[in-house]
């Protein structure tokens, strides 16, 4: 199948599942929260921390009693697919400290925004003006990042 068409279908399915999760499967409130790759891991981690360590970190209403488990599902789903296709890769990490810090920073900025890139698009499709602005800022940030990498690349040559 054409790469563009298959990617479109997968993205369409992800968007539809996010809407389905909210509409009929009880993954709300908040709205447009059917799938979020920073909010859902946050709910799971915070739910565990609050339960085990007795902390009182903020959690979304949907996850107060039982947390959402999207992150575990994605990790397992990807592992199953990789196992089927014999695509397990245990490549080494070039710069672990930098990779760790980038993960740390992305998580913090995503939580300031209130969404990962995936949820930002779904929430923008829901018509939320804040998230439309947020998505435009993600695009601006991406362009700035690409320009930074280009200049860094040409400076090191």
């Amino acid at each position: 199948m054409n790469r563009g068409i298959s990617m479109f279908i997968v993205a369409f399915a992800i968007g539809s599942l996010a809407a389905l999760a909210q509409a009929f499967l009880g993954v709300a409130p908040p709205v447009a929260y059917g799938i979020c790759m920073v909010g859902h891991p946050r709910d799971l981690l915070v739910w565990m921390a609050n339960g085990i360590l007795g902390t009182r970190f903020a959690i979304q209403p949907v996850s107060v009693e039982v947390p959402v488990l999207t992150a575990i599902g994605v990790l397992a789903g990807s592992a199953i697919s990789a196992a089927q296709r014999k695509e397990f890769r245990t490549s080494s990490v070039r710069s672990p400290a930098l990779t760790f810090i980038l993960g740390f920073l992305v998580a913090n900025f995503a939580l300031i925004l209130g969404a990962c890139v995936l949820r930002a698009v779904v929430f923008a499709a829901y018509g939320n003006l804040h998230m439309i602005i947020g998505f435009l800022c993600i695009v601006t940030g991406v362009v700035a990042g690409v320009e930074y990498l280009k200049r860094k690349g040409s400076a090191s040559q």
Binding site: Q22, A58, L118, V122, G127
Partner: protein
């Protein structure tokens, strides 16, 4: 309880599909700009059209879609707390995700494939989540109070 099971099953499905398609929503923005390759950009189009179609269809079928579409209810743009956070958060997510090389969804998928670099990113990501929940959120609340 049903929402936990639902998210687990949906996670399995999108993780499986994500591994097969190598879909990445940051690449969908960066590649058209960097190498004029518009292939990955269809991911963004598919996601927005899929979710919009879903909200419209499931809403018409009686599903829980309150206040949709939000645009009609969202107050005017201001640079106070939530909009300021959307701007700062959006810029940071875009910039640092390009440096990292993908969106959080793509990194979860790559970690599931056994890649150590993605697992390292996710450890930083999860530590970042706890750091935000313990410290940054208090700073943001104080900031919101100070700017009204």
């Amino acid at each position: 309880m049903i929402h936990a099971l639902a998210t687990l099953v949906i996670g399995l499905m999108i993780g499986y599909l994500g591994q097969r398609s190598r879909i990445c929503f940051i690449r969908g923005i960066s590649h058209p700009y960097l190498v004029r390759d518009f292939g990955p950009a269809v991911a963004l189009a598919g996601l927005s059209i899929g979710s919009l179609t879903g909200f419209l269809t499931f809403g018409a079928l009686g599903g829980y879609v309150p206040g949709f579409p939000h645009l009609l209810e969202t107050p005017g743009i201001n640079l106070r707390s939530p909009m300021l956070f959307a701007v700062i958060g959006g810029l940071g997510v875009g910039f640092f995700s390009v440096l990292a090389g993908g969106c959080p969804f793509r990194f979860h998928v790559m970690a599931g494939e056994g890649r150590k670099a993605a697992a390292t990113y996710l450890i930083g990501f999860y530590v970042g989540i706890i750091y935000f929940s313990a410290i940054v959120i208090k700073v943001l609340k104080a900031l919101m109070e100070s700017i009204g």
